[in-house]
Symmetry: C2
Subunit: 384 residues, 2 copies
């Protein structure tokens, strides 16, 4: 397999984007990534999107978006793994370049979620759960993560305040991200007193409904070197799955797919959790970030809440987590999230993260998750 | 890149399968492929499915089906390219094995289309068209292909009878396929006098709405050799795209994506159309088979209809096309079709195609198409 590097990234302002369609958002973002890469043609493209069929009545977006981007005739595929669709697109692109099948691959994620009403969006998202055993019985994602949060609090003594602190930290980072949907700070009191969604989860524990896209260009590392830019290599790539239904898991506080994907990515990269200078994880709900940091081994099992409280995952802490603002503050256009995580890590490793720049990072990791953790895609990046 | 071979295939009876769910159909079919391969564990799996969100309210089927198959924890991805989703899954699996990322990859396609009513199914399928420029103005797929058929008749003198002969030939083959949804013969008169759908397309020119799945197991060719079975190598793999909206094409009788994918697959395999012993193509409507055989160069441009009339594409003709019965007689569970084409070619190359066996074929090709031709995936197979 060939060494692979990210040569360009692009992201646009996320939010409720009523004046642009899915195809407009995609093209604007993809062009930024191509511009950053200094390229105007690609050999192949992959788009991660969870359910454009339910959100905008359009499937077959691979070919559609290739055409609108002016890249008609190239291989153009959509991939889906619920909210891990973006990470999956990145991984498939990585495999394509590593294999030698393609030299320049554009990977992206896109979701246009606000063209439908709130009930329809909740239904569309619920199709990532096990519909026969969860969805049809009324469980939606806030409910699923509330079950996980309650179990974590019972088992490890995680507090309501610690959950809130995840949101507070991520908003503190997101306030410095010009692309974030909600670029402002919040307080623990505000989180705890915000509208209840599914006890113990309040509205400010939840990532929002968002329109947005993110893109990255992958090439063989040699080609990135020749281009004379910072070479950000993809040194680890992994994907793992688990039972979708929570009822089928041994311990709902433990994200087995994330644990397994993390382990594989570390092994492939020859790294361990202590080598990471920053980490972007899937904080769809505050409890998710806590469970993910435990499963990836960056904090001890059960200590996820305590680590946030101690400031270990702050931007200037032992291991900065979600310097982008995370899904919580930056927004969560589901299929786009995994690629946006890559954009943040690449910008940090290049030293281009502006006000939220971590001091001289060399190794970064992304963890993108589908459903209540049944799919996880991880990547590890290293600056040469 | 490593040489890749198909070591196992599986398909079940297609039709209106009301007593089984999507997950049941998938598991039954995947187990047949694993049994055929003599394996009980896989490293990774890819599922092609067009829109399980709209058909059965369930996205995220990669992880779900891995779990139900007893393969929990493996990387499990869904890919989509409308009706070319199955072919795309096969191609992604090919790339995974060729790259060295995985040794044993299970690829499959599945669609459960009859759990919704006819109007909802028509809507779900229409999301493969350009919704903003076609779907929302009332165009559905029979209408799109009727435009293509009318133009082909005008430009090349293709006759109504020639269109019907495609269906007659494919039903003649399908009558010998135990998995076909409609395993019986029909006549030109029956096609011409069947219910009008969109002039000149009648109901017997259309592939049906179908529930079904198909699966194949890919391994490095060395491993297939060691297993002591017929080694069916994947010698060509390609994917190409085009504008989705017919209005944006220069000539709607010409399938540019199919032409380009065919050219790439021939080049990769070092073959030309004359080397093919059989061909499975995407006859979603009778006119589609005519246009595809022209774009792949197995018949001269404009002669697709005349070639069918002359019997050139019959099972004992110059180049047998759709010995399986094609989408027309075998059925068309959209995401499954591309993998079912592979199943037919592999069974033919192994000499296991029963009553529809072609005499001693060595090289076969599949062509799987999305929308009105905006996506095409081709593969060429060779028996060692």
């Amino acid at each position: 397999m060939r060494e692979v590097a990210v040569i360009g990234v692009g992201i646009t302002k996320w939010g409720e984007i009523w004046e642009q369609s899915l195809r407009d958002i995609y093209v604007e973002t993809a062009l930024l990534a191509l511009q950053d890469a200094g390229l105007d043609r690609v050999d192949s493209m992959l788009v991660g999107s969870m359910t454009p069929g339910l959100f905008v009545g359009q499937e077959h977006i691979g070919a559609l978006l290739a055409d609108y981007l002016g890249q008609k005739h190239i291989p153009a595929a959509r991939v889906e793994s619920a909210c891990a669709s973006g990470g999956l697109a990145f991984r498939m692109g990585f495999i394509e370049v590593a294999s030698g099948i393609s030299d320049v691959v554009l990977v992206s994620g896109v979701e246009k979620m606000t063209d439908v009403g709130g009930d329809e969006a909740t239904y569309a998202l619920s199709t990532a759960a096990d519909q026969e055993y969860e969805g049809y019985h009324g469980l939606t994602f806030p409910g699923l993560y509330a079950l996980i949060a309650r179990a974590h609090m019972e088992k490890y003594g995680t507090t309501r305040e610690q959950l809130a602190m995840v949101a507070v930290k991520n908003h503190r980072n997101g306030a410095l991200n010009p692309h974030a949907q909600f670029p402002f700070e919040i307080t623990v009191d505000q989180v705890i007193n915000s509208v209840k969604v599914a006890d113990p989860i309040n509205i400010l524990d939840c990532s929002p409904i968002t329109d947005g896209a993110a893109a990255a260009v992958l090439v063989p590392a040699d080609r990135a070197r020749a281009a004379g830019k910072s070479v950000i290599k993809v040194v680890g790539s992994s994907h793992a799955s688990d039972s979708i239904a929570l009822a089928q898991r041994q311990d709902i506080t433990w994200l087995e797919a994330t644990y397994r994907a993390g382990k594989k990515a570390y092994a492939m990269a020859g790294k361990n959790p202590q080598d990471l200078d920053l980490l972007e994880v899937h904080d769809c709900f505050t409890i998710a970030e806590i469970c993910v940091t435990e499963a990836l081994g960056v904090v001890e099992k059960g200590r996820g809440g305590a680590a946030v409280e101690a400031g270990e995952t702050d931007r200037d802490g032992r291991i900065p987590v979600n310097t982008s603002g995370g899904l919580k503050s930056k927004g969560h256009p589901v299929g786009a999230t995994g690629v946006a995580q890559v954009v943040e890590v690449v910008q940090q490793l290049r030293g281009e993260a502006g006000g939220r720049q971590v001091k001289d990072p060399r190794v970064g990791m992304t963890q993108n998750m589908g459903g209540s953790g049944a799919s996880t895609v991880c990547h590890i990046f290293e600056r040469e």
